[in-house]
Amino acid sequence: MTDHLTTDILILGTGGAGLMCALHAWWRDPTLDITLVSKGLLGKSGCTRMVQGGYNVVLDPSDSIEAHFEDTIRGGAFINDQELAWTLVADAPRIVRELENKIGCLFDRAPDGRIHQKAFAAQTFDRTIHRGDLTGIEIMARLRDQILHTRIRVFEETRALELLTRDGRVVGALLLDIRRGEYIAVKARAVVLATGAGPLMYRLAACAQEKTSDGVAMAFRAGAHLMDMEMVQFHPTGLLVPGSRLSGALLEEGLRGAGARLFNGQGERYMARYDSERLERSTRDRVSRAGYMEIAAGRGTKNGGVWLDAAHLGAKFVEENFAGMRERCLRLGVDLAREPVEVSPTAHFNMGGVRINRDGFTNLVGLFAAGEDAAGVHGANRLGGNGVAESTVFGARVGEAVSQWVRGVDHVDANAQQIQEVRHDSDHFLSGDIVSSPFDLRPELGDVMWERVGIVRDGAGLQRAIEELQVLQDRATRVRVKGGRKFNLAWQQALDMRNLLCASELIARSSLLRTESRGAHYRSDYPHMDDANWLKNVYLGRDGDTPQLWTADVQLTRMRVSE
């Protein structure tokens, strides 16, 4: 059965970007029919909810937008889209005021009553605002409250399967109501991708479980241009818990900001050998790579990790400032305030994604993107605290832009045959004998990506990974599940695999093309940064069924490459 719905703006994703987009579109024009689609529960799914340390914003008169911009570009190793990065830092102060004064978030105060800003890594000023060490709860719960106060339609536990296109234009999406197992064909004037991408294809990953690269994969299949897909951020300090899904979950950056130290299995403070100046407060790419190399060189802990030690900061300080992180460890029998915790680098964020302009327009008419689904803001490496800033800043911008844009366009009927095909492709997992389970494939994908498309890459390994991914893609189509249509998690897993495999291949192919090392992308066969040849972005599009790759020079519109 397929339900049909017509709406003005269809927003896929309900993290920070999706909800800010919806609210801004609604505030600008409450006569618009707006539909939000959440793969999980409203306000609870996605990674904005999981934001720990905080939000980078220039509030202090002795800080400056220029300084935040420069930190962001240097952090991104100069391949950021400088206009997008400038938009991020320039809009953030206004958006933070909106979050506090209009949406109702309350960030932590210093004793004098002003918003407290703390230290994060690789920044020249302590500009990260926060609510304890669990900031995302505050932001998402308050955004959710505001959504409840509107007449925006919300589909919970509903996923988008495919963007519907007609003559190169995006005209809607086919959704699957996970609870009922039934389809909903949505006709929309504009579709906003805000699904949060997410590198869940790696063995260890930090993200919320919904983030299976759905947005990026759907956009690619629809013909959108993607950029920087090789740039996958690994966070240096993911928990290592043998036999538990908790593995890969983060211990926040503020710990290193506050002075926590990293030690290898031999008790050596190894960061001195990788970045003698900034040590643990170096950028995430460097700290992650250092940890990975220590482990690879056999200097890791017995579970294959390194130690994060915050005990010397004082038990009281850690208890007060990192209560959430401490609680997370206490269940495992480790007291972060008093002893070192075993950690490992963990896949955390896609810098790459859909190519957008400052208002979220993509190359496809009718398709917009914001947040982690989009590329360009962070270049080759994202600074901690710039992620939630991106979601909220660009979500708001797209909301403003799209609410005006839809006034000038009509609905276009979807191609009935496309709907038929997508339904067929999704339904086929439910019919026939089980030959292969989707739950078996996932760890295999995790190993391929971790070992060959991970923190350290080389040409031969990437080539091999592409072949292995093709085998996995083939096996994924033969997966069958039992249990019917209603809230069938195995079926959802099978649908997730398709998108994860698609995005994995795009990451591997982009990584193979970039024959240098920059930011999060490290090639052991090309270990140096090559500004002469690679101040470029790698682009991806679709040529028939195969990915087409090309490069284009970075436009250094505001800041030149310097020493």
Partner: protein, 257 residues
């Protein structure tokens, strides 16, 4: 590895007449959570068991369920200390969608009734924009700061709603989560809907329904005491009603003269 015997409630309304229990024996690691056990189950003997989770670090509040009859977050509860026999059931006071997944609509319907959204003092879209320009300064030695609620952040998991006997007895009762949110806003000096919200809190379905049983306080995975919040609300509401009454008297007097 420790062995656990898991009894999981299975139920698909419309398809099944009654809930049933399935038993599964499994080995789990020492540090496994209830969620880890369910994930292992999904990969082995019950691929179609339905349960909810998202962040798996206790921040999203999607995975609350009953473990041995008590509300807990699946992701944040170690299973071995609760074993070897562990019974897993969906939350109470909420309709089941499938197996361990409940419909949170009644919880959020109650929540919406307390005006849970922040109401700015000046509407920035129509006003001078003043409200948007200045971030509130609330010194920690001020009365305003001390009056505010400083308990841990609520993750709206529904554990308190499930545990509340008063909710079971009266589905119209606003319940612990909604009332706790009301307290947060009522004590927030930046919010403008103070009186309106207090009237709802003081109404028949509001704070005075609470019998101070404290179930919610015991089960909250975040360490919030909604019981304490509700007690505060009762005091604030009484003061509010008294003041209103006195003001009314004053008005009557003035009119009489």
């Amino acid at each position: 590895m420790p062995t656990i015997k898991l009894r999981v409630q299975r139920f698909t309304p419309d398809d099944d007449e009654l809930p049933r229990y399935e038993s599964h024996v499994m080995d789990v690691s020492e540090q496994a959570s209830v969620l880890d056990a369910l994930l292992a189950l999904q990969c082995t003997s019950a691929s179609d068991v339905a349960f909810r989770f998202s962040c798996r670090v206790g921040m999203c509040g999607s995975c609350a369920l009953l473990v041995n009859g008590r509300e807990r977050l699946a992701c944040s509860t170690s299973i071995v200390p609760l074993g070897p026999n562990v019974r897993i059931e969906p939350l109470r006071n909420l309709p089941v969608i499938r197996d361990l997944i409940v419909d949170l609509a009644p919880l959020f319907d109650a929540y919406e009734r307390v005006i849970p959204h922040f109401v700015p003092r000046a509407d920035p879209s129509t006003g001078s924009g003043q409200a948007l320009d200045d971030l509130a300064v609330i010194p920690q030695d001020s009365g305003e700061w001390r009056a505010m609620d400083h308990q841990p952040q609520c993750i709206d998991c529904g554990a308190c709603y499930s545990s509340c006997s008063l909710v079971t007895l009266n589905h119209n009762y606003l319940g612990p989560m909604a009332l706790h949110r009301a307290l947060q806003l009522i004590t927030d000096p930046r919010d403008a809907a103070h009186d309106e919200r207090l009237r709802i809190v003081a109404s028949e379905a509001g704070a005075f329904r609470c019998h101070t049983l404290g179930n919610c306080r015991e089960v909250c995975p975040r360490g919030i005491s909604p019981t304490h919040s509700i007690e505060r609300l009762k005091r604030i509401a009484i003061r509010f009603m008294m003041t209103n009454l006195l003001n009314q008297k004053d008005t009557t007097k003035t009119r009489g003269q």
